[in-house]
Amino acid sequence: MTETTTRTDARSPSAPTAGTPSRERGRGRGFLDNSLVQLTLVRYKEFMREPEAVFWVFVFPILLAAGLGIAFRNRPAGKQHVAVVSSAPGAAALASALGKDSSLDVQLLDDSAAAFALRTGKVALVVESRGADSVVYRYDDTRSDALSARLITDDALQRAAGRPDPVRVGESHVRERGSRYIDFVIPGLLGMNLMGSGIWGLGFAIVDARRKKLLKRLIATPMSRAQFLLSFLLSRLTWLMFEVITLLGFGALVFGVPLRGSIASLAFICLIGALSFGAMGLLIAARAKTVEGASGLMNLVMMPMWVFSGVFFSSANFPKAMQPFIQALPLTAVNDALRANMLQGASLASVSGELAIALGWLVVCFVLALRLFRWR
């Protein structure tokens, strides 16, 4: 025995030896000593001790929602910037006539400065006088702000020239919660978050454990393999609760995003979504040996859904021919179901089609993952 051992023994007189049976029975041990509970707790602790993961799952979606909410906040349309070419005859009179319209911001620029301002988007429209009763509009006809600048400018110009308005118009403004961009984007971000944390959270943890030969070490114990995989799903569900509550709480409190459907149905949609993305993560991680390999696969799987599944803009923007493909993606289904619940207060029955698609992915991915899974 070396000195080190002797010292330890001296410190604690009843120090155990390598074989002394201080044997305990399995029975009578606490709930926390159950292997499924231990595996789940360990997953949970590993995640909470990874500051980057906590950032990407909790903080990043909120920053993104805040940024998008501010950038696309609904506000009275701003002034349209218009340039009048100063070298043309009658330019000053034209500019002052247009300047009387409160929704136009008019500046006099020489020809090249006006062209530069138009090219760089500083102005939406350039007006050039061609004599006493003739003007030319220069603008990009694919830009909606240029089109509205053209309409407003033309309106102001014609009225200043004495056009009568035969119809009297009254206005009533309606700004409804639930139809703003932030109302559209919060459910989309929630869906994207469910996908990201499901696929990354499960995939990386499993591939990393395989790379470190930890999976191999674990299956050398009597540990139940089913419990091991189950612990990933269980710990996923714990974070899921936090993720959903933080993001929706933020949306509701800061931007007043409506929650019109029942909370129980919303929770159920999140659960199905999280489980099916978790199963996808498991499938991606079933064989990959390196984190790099797995991360390539994950991006390959997630990229189409980021683009097509209506996170930031409606998936209806894509051509009709692509719609069957887009509708079959699990994120499209989850996003549509979340929006129907939150914005229209739809019941579970009315989103059963979307739920069926997500469930289908869950079953197919999980069964395949179990078949393909390699422990070493």
Binding site: P16, T17, A18, G19, V42, T221, P222
Partner: protein, 338 residues
């Protein structure tokens, strides 16, 4: 004059049996075997990792698989651990087979793998507790942590442990199920001398309680110190088997004489082997290595021979023969290249 026996003679089953015959001859049923291996084979795509080995490990002994990297030690131990399926051959662990009793065997074995990295984010206590939860019966978590001398680190993260502490934690995870049979795959590779001695103490403690250990190593001093029996492996075969003492004695020479000379070209092994008391001679990096059974006769004879030939000697060393010398004499190579 004694000719050195060529290695293929050693590699044949008969000479192995000759060394290990004292217990091979006992009938299997009357002698409790912790591990029984017959004609074990395992090939991967392009290499035969294990090429027909036979081994028996008696209850309560510490058995060592000694050999260089790539000798097939890890494949052999992983087949015994139920992690790798052999192509052919018979394996009985604690009298049972992996095919029929896998679940029960896992309860009764303690395993430490060569390259496992335990989760760095967890503490020592959390890690041992997790492993404890897998076993129906086992040892108290705090006891095992104290046993491997990690008591002061029990709430420290695994990522902050030194290499030796990590290995002791791996041993704690192997011991927490209170195993009857302990498998250790290169438990001290890469550790500093003090950390190795600490681990050796723990392995000896385990052995002193009458439990069985199978360990692999490429350190001959480790095998000599810890093991009751050693199987020397090379290229997937067992090339020698016996107690460390028997193996060293099989050299027929208890001592080694090493000398360095700038005039090595003017000497040959034939001349040296004809000297009194020399069993075998080999050229080494900057001189020669002699296996010697009587130092007091060989050293004067060697000095006389060199001075008669006018060859200058730069360095002379004598030492007791080790398992390393056994390996070198069998294969002509050293256990470790570095």
């Amino acid at each position: 004059m004694h000719r050195w026996r060529p290695s293929h003679e050693y590699a044949s089953g008969s000479s192995c049996a000759a060394i290990g015959s004292f217990y091979l001859s006992l009938p299997f049923t009357h002698f409790p075997m912790a591990l029984f291996i017959r004609s074990l084979r395992k090939a991967y795509q392009d290499v035969t990792a294990v090429d027909g080995i036979d081994l028996e490990v008696a209850d309560g002994e510490c058995f060592g698989l000694l050999g260089p990297n790539g000798a097939g030690k890890t494949t052999t131990i992983e087949i015994c651990e139920g992690l790798t399926t052999p192509d052919s051959g018979e394996v009985r662990v604690l009298g049972r087979t992996w095919k029929e009793d896998a679940r029960e065997l896992r309860e009764r074995l303690g395993i430490q793998l060569q390259e496992t990295q335990l989760s760095e984010k967890l503490t020592v206590r959390e890690t041992v507790r997790l492993f404890r939860s897998f076993y129906r019966e086992g040892r108290d978590v705090e006891d095992v942590i104290a046993l491997v001398q990690l008591g002061e680190k029990r709430d420290g993260r695994v990522g902050q442990l030194s290499g030796g502490q990590k290995q002791r934690l791996a041993l704690a995870c192997a011991l927490v199920g209170d195993p009857e049979l302990l498998f250790l795959d290169e438990p001290t590779t890469g550790l500093d001398p003090q950390a190795r001695r600490q681990l050796w103490d723990l392995i000896e403690q385990f052995r002193s309680t009458g439990r069985t250990t199978l360990l692999t190593t490429h350190y001959m001093d480790e095998a000599e110190r810890l093991c009751d029996h050693v199987a020397i492996m090379d290229h997937g075969k067992v090339i020698a088997l016996g107690t460390p003492h028997e193996l060293i004695r099989s050299l027929g020479a208890e001592h080694m004489v090493e000398f360095a000379t700038a005039d090595a070209a003017r000497l040959d092994t034939g001349v040296l082997e004809s000297l009194d008391g020399v069993r075998a001679a080999r050229a080494s990096k900057d001189g020669f290595e002699l296996e010697v059974d009587a130092l007091h006769r060989t050293v004067p004879a060697l000095l006389a021979e060199l001075s008669q030939r006018g060859i200058e000697m730069n360095e002379l060393r004598t030492r007791t023969a080790t398992l390393e010398d056994v390996f070198v004499s069998l294969t002509g190579r050293h256990l470790r290249d570095d």
